[in-house]
């Protein structure tokens, strides 16, 4: 199998990359484009550490082929930040609540919960309940925090 050249739009910038058709979006983002906030955790779509937004929807980078992302803008957590590394308000809530310990799950947690809050707002609802947040996060595992501070952070953001 030969490599082919594709264009990936990541965090608002187009990147020309040569990839094998079998390459996962995770491997290309992490190893080719150097995006360290997209992480290998299990390769099975179970843990959620490789979560990115594809066309605004959260997907597992380990279960998505890079070629499938052609023509579909990709956002990683670092893409949420403004110029000069200004944090997104949801990231600020994570910081305030101590919602990271080892930090490995944090990008996936932030992207998945941001999507949940956005969907709620687009449905004309004020905010998701704590139980809805729990449900949305079942594909994002955390082994350090016990989830409480993550849920607190997301609730505070949703309240804003």
């Amino acid at each position: 199998m030969n490599k082919r050249q594709i264009v990936l739009s990541v965090n608002g910038t187009d990147h020309e990359v040569w990839v094998f058709p079998s390459a996962t979006l995770l491997d290309v983002l992490h190893d080719e484009l150097g995006l360290a906030d997209v992480r290998y955790g299990c390769g099975e779509g179970v843990c959620g550490t490789c979560t990115v937004l594809l066309d605004g929807d959260p997907v597992n980078g380990c279960l998505t082929l890079a070629v499938q992302a052609v023509g579909h803008p990709v956002t990683t957590m670092r893409g949420l930040m403004g110029p000069g590394e200004v944090m997104h308000p949801l990231q600020e809530c994570f910081l305030r609540h101590g919602a990271s310990q080892c930090g490995f799950c944090t990008p996936g947690m932030v992207l998945t919960s941001l999507d949940l809050v956005r969907r709620c707002v687009s449905q004309g609802r004020v905010r998701p309940t704590r139980d809805e947040i729990r449900y949305a996060l079942v594909g994002n595992l955390c082994r350090c925090t016990g989830y409480t501070k993550i849920l607190d952070a997301i609730e505070e953001y949703a309240d804003q």
């Binding site: 310990q101 799950c105 996060l137 079942v138």
Partner: protein, 766 residues
Amino acid sequence: MTIPDLQSLTGPYRIVGTSPAHHDFVDKVKGSLHYAADWQLPGMLHGRVVRSPVPSARITGIDVTAARALPGVAAVLTAADVPSNQIVELASGGLAELQVSMPVLAADRVRYMGEPVAVVAATTPQIAYEAAELVAVDYEELPGVFDPISARADGAPRVHEVGNTLVNWQIHCGDVAGALAAADMVIEGEYRSQHVEHAYLEPEAGVGWIENGVLTLRVSTQVIEHAATIAHILGLPQSKVRVIAAYMGGGFGGKEDMTVEAFLALLVWHTRRPVRMIWDRQESLVASTKRHPFIMRYRTGADRDGTITAQQIEIIGDAGAYPNLSPRVLFAAAACACGPYRVPNASITSTAVFTNNVPASAFRGFGAMQIVLGYESQMDQLAERLGLSRTALRERNFLAKGDLLPTGERLDTCVEVAETMHRAIALLGEPPQPSGPGKLVGRGIGCNRHPYGRTIWFRDRASAWLSLQGDGTLLIRSGVTDLGAGQAASLCQIAAEILGAPLDDISIYIGDSALNPPAGGTFATRQLYMSGNAVLHAAQELRDRMAPVAADLLGVPADDLEFVAGRVRAQRAEVSITLAELAAACDKRAISTAHLSTWRAQAGSFDPRTGQGDTFPDYTYGTHAADVEVDVETGQVTVLRYGACHDVGRAINPMRVQGQIQGGAMQGLGYALTEDMAIEDGYVQAVLFANYLIPNAQDFPDVLVDIVESGEGKGPLGARGIGEPPIGNVAATIASAIQDAIGVRPDRLPMTPERVLALLDQRRQT
């Protein structure tokens, strides 16, 4: 940035007792932290381990020809290529254990499924994977032994020639037989726990390269001191191996033994090129170390009023195929087997047994965690039999400062376990009501005594170096490794407290065996105790050295000075100078503004023949409480509310203390109810992460936390360690709640619906 609702209430301190979001939090929330797998170097190769697919076999041949011939392959190494192919881990310091070494790569015999046999490096991960598949190993399968009871039987297949009993610890005091015979009540029970996976979200990873002739590894590890072992394996001087610890994506003890290090070292040294190795999750599940399954047999004698008079305890742990840290794990179990209770007559044996299962080793709690189920089950059963309340029975027997442990040691700090018990129960509020027919509710508690600091006979040390820079900012250098619990950040808070440097003006360099003073590894809940004290004393020494200079400049007595908010100021006069001005003044007088401090833990010795002597420096005490609902049709246990309270001595950073307790309790809930790393005849069953059920956000309720600050720990400013203790109480607490709900005590983990249903059947039959 501080968390307003979590300020420590009791402390006389400015920075200690607050919850700042320090550098590590900021990098993690921004996604800008570079973990071990995030490092890339020019010309970097990718390494992969070839592992045994069978648990017990003789290797009759290895053919690497096809693998070496694959284009892109740079190296295929086997045991013959390892200069010194043995890792000797005298885990107990050489006390009473068999001396068995573990090969880096198996030469002629494999003893567990997943044992490394060869290692390859190639230009891409895919080629490395293909090359590993092409390594042809001929195995002649041998009989194996897969549980510790069979392994101790006569004629059992030997895992190692010297025998299957790795270590047998004995602690005896008083006259147990006499006391049991004289007791008004004797109860007994056997409790069993399972293999458990650490399941840190960051798999084992690292990158190695050669720089200035020095083999350098940047890995996800709790212990940079493995540099010495790596040097031994390669036959290099220790000065030619450097280990840098990246901030870890979790470790929990699973990165305390070496993981990728020796393989990376071999490949880098052989190819002279940078090499990266990342274990697949599935590889990690099969081959990484596990928590020891325990068999715990307890007999407890008591007077009619509930006073415990004697305990006879037998603990057996499945060490798996190699020693790793099993001798120490089983020692911690023995030393803590009576829990936070006074037991005047005790007989404790604790045995680590070789099997052909994957090796068990360190895992948060380290033996002192499994046995909580044993001693707390006995307490609840005793309370039930004597018709006493569970809390009253415990209060009658709680240890107090000045009491003797079965090892003959005297407790020299306060024991606030009763306070934690009342507070943990208070967190739950009113007892729950069943949600409907066919549901039973119950409330349970679990108390524990957990050591912090290494076993005393290791004569533990930790060093730290502080330097006030010319502009008044502060550098800290420490070999501490950071698991994500804020090990580095806590040191910054302690230094800031003493020297008055604002946290933003402090930079800390950690985890580098060549550049930073050795701190010992991050395990045994020891870093706050050890490195915290090292930093505290370095900061105090620096302040005492610089204070006379400031006093001279300000024209006030040195004892009138306080170091705060980047300044040194006189408390009684309205004068002050900045730390920058102080640094300049010291420089002018040729007074060094840097200091290296080494903290030494208390010394002592233990006699393995008599089981008497010193064990651990001190303990952290705590209690958890839970309300559960049991569905009598399905056996499903729903945790309704969960509360946890520990005496942490002093909370250096209350938010991080809370995080440790919440995270530890959640990990314990997985252990209690869902997690089971089942191994059938040596074959690990959960070969996918999807098959191993760690708690997700929906499984359990929030863990409510209360913190007692007795101020009497042996850590800096009276702190006690809190990393490991909060995982210990959970299984006992849930078992206690299930017993309260259904009237039968679970004695086997995890407490799955199938097992709870069987208990319900047992109740119906009796």
